[in-house]
């Protein structure tokens, strides 16, 4: 048998001022009036974002953090060389499985366009699947893939939502032109390895494993 429920009976106790409704309502009116006058005055002030909530979006934009996670871009270095080596670590780290990388050799005579010995022949990010978690950026050992400042990701068709390499590089150029390139991610300080047997045991095979993956 299920236990029956006993609902407690609650007695409402009001003070006189609460009982007559009007006093509290007048207090509330005073408060909303204060906000009203403040905001009316604020809305006539020049400049964006004078009223606490509102940004007049397409014209005024909220300044975003420099580390904002938006649309991806593939970075070039100062000499204009592609940094991505096509190792595919980002694809492996992606929880949504939305990155496809194909590794290749740089074409004959164009080696100076690439920073690494290998290149990504194609690079595809399916923005329809992407959940913008930033794991790919974290996994990238070369600092080539970033989640950039662009947050206007809507498209009219599905096709353009799948970013290819050209699009990713274009994103980079756009961000560079706007001066919104992301600073390089600072690695967090890691504690010295503990003497705990569990930690140690776990560390040693893993070090090997990741090493072997890299060799592949």
């Amino acid at each position: 048998m299920l236990k029956p429920i006993k609902k407690p009976v609650v007695k409402r106790e009001y003070t006189f001022l609460e009982r007559i409704y009007l006093w509290e309502i007048v207090k509330g009116l005073k408060l909303t009036w204060k906000h009203f006058t403040f905001n009316v005055r604020a809305s006539f002030r020049p400049g964006p974002h004078t009223v606490p909530t509102c940004w007049q979006y397409p014209e005024d934009r909220r300044p975003i953090a420099p580390i904002f996670r938006g649309a991806h871009y593939l970075a070039l270095d100062e000499k204009g060389r592609e940094l991505c080596i096509g190792c595919g670590m980002c694809a492996r780290a992606c929880p949504a499985h939305c990155i496809k990388v194909k590794r290749g050799k740089p074409p004959e005579g164009q080696e100076e366009k690439y920073a690494g010995k290998t290149i990504c022949e194609s690079f595809e990010i399916d923005m329809l699947r992407c959940i913008v978690c930033g794991f790919c950026e974290e996994a990238c050992a070369k600092g080539a893939l970033y989640l950039g400042p662009d947050y206007e990701l809507a498209e009219y068709e599905k096709g353009p939502c799948i970013y290819d390499k050209e699009r990713l590089l274009a994103n980079f150029r756009k961000a560079r032109a706007e001066g919104k390139l992301k600073p390089k991610r600072k690695p967090v300080p890691v504690a010295a390895p503990e003497k705990k047997p569990v930690g140690k045991k776990a560390v040693s095979p893993e070090g090997k494993a990741s090493g072997s993956q890299k060799e592949k």
Binding site: L22, I25, G28, L29, L31, T32, W33, H35, F36, N39, V40, S43, V51, P52, T53, C54, Q56
Partner: protein, 346 residues
């Protein structure tokens, strides 16, 4: 008896005016609420977003008119009409100014000075509920029916204190005609107060306002269309201009009620301690009285908006409880006290 032409002009004028203000009210409501809530509100259409009501109107007109398949077609189309008609015609007996003298002809700024203006307003207010009930029932939607039922119970309950308070006012001024009541509020009362209804009927005023809010279905009495409980109440299934009529009728109702409040309790077009007719010409006096009346009305319209965005909503049974347990006894007490004082002083 004035000639027909002037009456027609007055009707056309006041109709346009009320419609204009009602349209503007949608804008005031939205911008006003936005400003209270630290937002900006619609500000894209026209300067300060003033053309927003026009945009809304165009939108409502061009929407597809959808009638639910299982709705009762006749009732469904009748609902908005029944709601809007009384709302549009109620203003006929409420004055909107004193008088205008043109070519020696005296034009009273009121469509019809009926000597039972009160009864006309109460009767039309009672009719409006049919619009909601019929619309709610005809939509064949449970939420709509709930909204319709709520509106019936609420409006019928609040007609009673509304009427009783009006009776007390009638006793004070000794007439049913709204124009005469307005005229009677000139001068001072007890030597230092303006001779306004609110000073003669302070309790009556509060009760009247409460009942008026309930009649107009405004927060905190907006149960028939409480959007968080019963979706949109009686107009859940409505779209396009039918919905427009409901929304519009509501604002027209507001205007009528605000004007009524001004007429009864706030000295109509009279300024306190000041008789404008002494130092203004006949035409400018007419216009000034109209403006003063409108400004007072505008304040009460604004109060409707202001209160709406400040307080929470009642519950259905609490509204009934307030109506029957507080407002009716209080309005009766008010009536008796008024009668007693009048009996003792006259």
């Amino acid at each position: 008896m004035e000639d027909l032409g002037i009456t027609v002009i007055k009707v056309v004028f006041i109709w346009t005016w009320v419609l204009l203000i009602a349209t503007l009210m949608t804008w005031v409501e939205r911008r006003g609420s936005a400003m209270m809530q630290d937002r900006l509100g619609p500000n894209r259409a026209g300067p300060f977003g003033l053309l927003q009501p026009v945009a809304d109107g165009i939108k409502l007109f061009t929407k597809e008119d959808i009638v639910p398949e299982k709705a009762q077609k006749i009732l469904f189309s009748l609902g908005p009409v029944l709601f809007a008609l009384p709302a549009f015609s109620a203003y006929a007996v409420v004055p909107f100014g004193d008088k205008l003298v043109l070519d020696g002809k005296e034009i009273i700024l009121q469509v019809a000075d009926v000597n039972i203006g009160f009864l006309y307003i109460v009767a039309l207010g009672g009719l409006a509920v049919y619009g909601m009930v019929v619309g709610g029932w005809g939509s064949n939607n449970k939420y709509s029916i709930l909204g319709g039922l709520r509106s019936t119970a609420q409006l019928i309950s609040y007609e009673v204190p509304f009427g009783i308070v009006l009776l007390a006012v009638v006793m004070v001024f000794g007439t049913f005609s709204l124009r005469e009541i307005s005229l009677a509020q000139q001068g001072t009362f007890l030597g230092f107060l303006p001779n306004w209804g609110v000073f003669k009927q302070p309790l009556g005023f509060i009760l009247f306002m409460t009942a008026a809010y309930a009649e107009a279905n405004r927060v905190p009495f907006d149960l028939p269309e409480a959007e968080s409980e019963i979706v949109a109440g009686y107009h859940t299934e409505y779209g396009s201009m039918r919905l427009g009529l409901y929304l519009f009728g509501e604002y027209v109702n507001l205007y009528t009620l605000a004007a009524l409040t001004v007429t009864l309790f706030f000295g109509a077009w009279h300024l306190p301690y000041l008789d404008m007719s002494h130092f203004l010409g006949p035409i400018s006096y007419g216009i000034a009285s109209f403006l003063v009346f409108f400004l007072k009305t505008a304040f009460f319209l604004w109060l409707f908006v202001w209160i709406r965005w400040t307080v929470p909503r009642f519950r259905y049974d609490q509204v009934m409880g307030l109506g029957w347990k507080a407002l009716i006894p209080l309005s009766l007490v008010n009536l008796f006290v008024t009668a007693l004082i009048i009996q003792l002083t006259v």
